[in-house]
């Protein structure tokens, strides 16, 4: 199922901001409101394990740092040629092998602190193969007027609604309502607590 953020905006957010259409908005733009939704998606995705995906990464012989897909927050698990790898830190591998960056062989571990946007195995693969990584992340394409669909359970729309309304009402303007902004922030927090209880904490 996809939540259509444009429908949410048109049917609920814009009327709640006392306008009939996006063109009638005085203190905000539609682009700003989409940005508020995108910010909220990323915040929820960072704090909770809600957007989890599997990505196959092709590793060549001796592959070092390999770029992770856009939108990755953290690697949760990895397998090379369908065999699970154990997580390890660079410090652990350095203690094990002085020449670890050049060592090749069947990968047995993946380095969880190789870098924010990369992953690598130890040893580096001696044969080319696929590293299958399970990723915590967020949708790689930001929510915008040109990208309004987000795959999530239908009640997630309520979270996006509160996020857009609260951030809009927190913006400095004649239509600012700090009490509503604060309340919506509390509601966002309740949603994120629920996400964490059902799907687990992130990072």
């Amino acid at each position: 199922v996809s939540i259509d953020v444009s429908a949410l905006l048109a049917n609920e957010v814009i009327p709640a901001l006392n306008a009939a259409t996006a063109a009638d908005l005085v203190f905000w733009t539609a682009a700003e409101l989409y940005q508020f939704a995108d910010d909220a998606v990323k915040e929820a995705a960072r704090r909770s394990l809600i957007f989890v995906s599997v990505a196959p990464l092709a590793l060549a012989i001796g592959a070092g740092d390999t770029a992770l897909p856009a939108g990755t927050v953290a690697v949760l698990a990895a397998a090379f040629a369908n065999l699970p790898l154990r997580a390890a830190t660079v410090a652990e591998i350095e203690a094990l092998d002085d020449n670890w960056e050049q060592t090749t062989g069947p990968p047995a571990k993946w380095l969880e602190d190789a870098g924010i946007t990369v992953v690598r195995t130890y040893p580096a693969p001696s044969v080319a193969g696929t590293l299958s990584v399970v990723l915590q992340g967020f949708p790689s394409a930001p929510i915008s007027a040109g990208n309004t669909a987000i795959e999530a359970p239908a009640p997630f729309a309520g979270y996006l609604l509160q996020a857009m309304l609260g951030r809009a009402r927190g913006k400095q303007s004649d239509a600012m309502m700090p009490e509503i902004a604060d309340h919506c922030a509390q509601r966002e927090g309740i949603y994120r607590q629920i996400f964490t209880q059902y799907w687990g904490a992130g990072e």
Partner: protein, 239 residues
């Protein structure tokens, strides 16, 4: 109660004309009531459904939304009439290093990560294998006047409470403050329903239980910070 009756209740209690309100559109009222039902269901997992979930040959990972559009979380999985136990990936790694490629005629373990990742062990060797999947479902969006909320009828008044509170958000200040007791009333209703569903889910040995509302920090959403309210206009003193 039908959708139309709940909408009328909301508008009457807002002192509005039930067919042509002035301060809100009918679409806004409808959206607030639908949002109420969605939120109540998320809090309580009170709606469930059972489907046949198709597995593909040599496939470990699935996107449940591809087959179940109203998916929230799994409650119980059965394969070949036997309960499939949930397992974390780390547990499967410990169980067998070749779990991602082992095949068998029936699934023994399953797990989910995030909204949309479901995995099974062992994997089917051929096509045609299925799971009996019981899951917490999202309610259908109510559109027609005669639509009836899917949540238990004794909780339908809570949808009106939430609807009024939500519509008052637009007004801000003390007008919004007047709606907060209704949000508290809605949460009380959710607590009752959630406790009932939780007890039932424990009896049924479901794999996912509703959130423990008592453990959620809701209190700050039930009141308004006085320092954020708009200042009252000063009235000139009459001496």
């Amino acid at each position: 109660m039908t959708f139309a009756i709940i909408r009328s209740l909301v508008l009457q209690r807002l002192d509005e004309n039930t067919s042509a309100p002035e301060s809100w559109t009918l679409a806004e009222v409808n959206a607030a009531i639908n949002e109420a039902q969605m939120f109540l269901v998320l809090l309580t997992l009170c709606l469930e459904n059972k489907v046949t979930f198709n597995l593909a040959a040599n496939t470990v990972f699935y996107d449940p939304f591809a087959q179940v559009s109203d998916w929230i979380v799994p409650l119980r999985v059965r394969s070949a009439n036997v309960k499939v136990r949930p397992a974390k990936m780390a547990e499967l790694d410990a169980l067998s290093s070749t779990w991602r490629t082992e095949t068998a005629p029936a699934v023994k373990r399953y797990g989910t990560r995030g909204f949309a990742l479901l995995y099974t062990y062992p994997v089917p060797s051929g096509s045609g294998q299925t799971l009996e999947l019981t899951y917490a479902q999202s309610p259908a969006v109510m559109v027609n006047d005669g639509d009836v909320p899917q949540i238990p009828e004794q909780h339908h008044p809570a949808l009106a409470d939430y609807g009024i509170y939500r519509l008052r958000q637009k007004l801000g200040g003390s007008e919004f403050q007047k709606g907060l007791p209704l949000f508290a009333s809605f949460i009380e209703s959710a607590k009752q329903l959630g406790a009932f569903v939780r007890a039932r889910s424990l009896d049924q040995r479901y794999d996912t239980l509703p959130v423990e509302l008592a453990k959620l920090d809701i209190s700050r959403a039930l009141k308004i910070r006085k320092d954020l309210l708009p200042a009252k206009q000063e009235t000139p003193s009459v001496d």
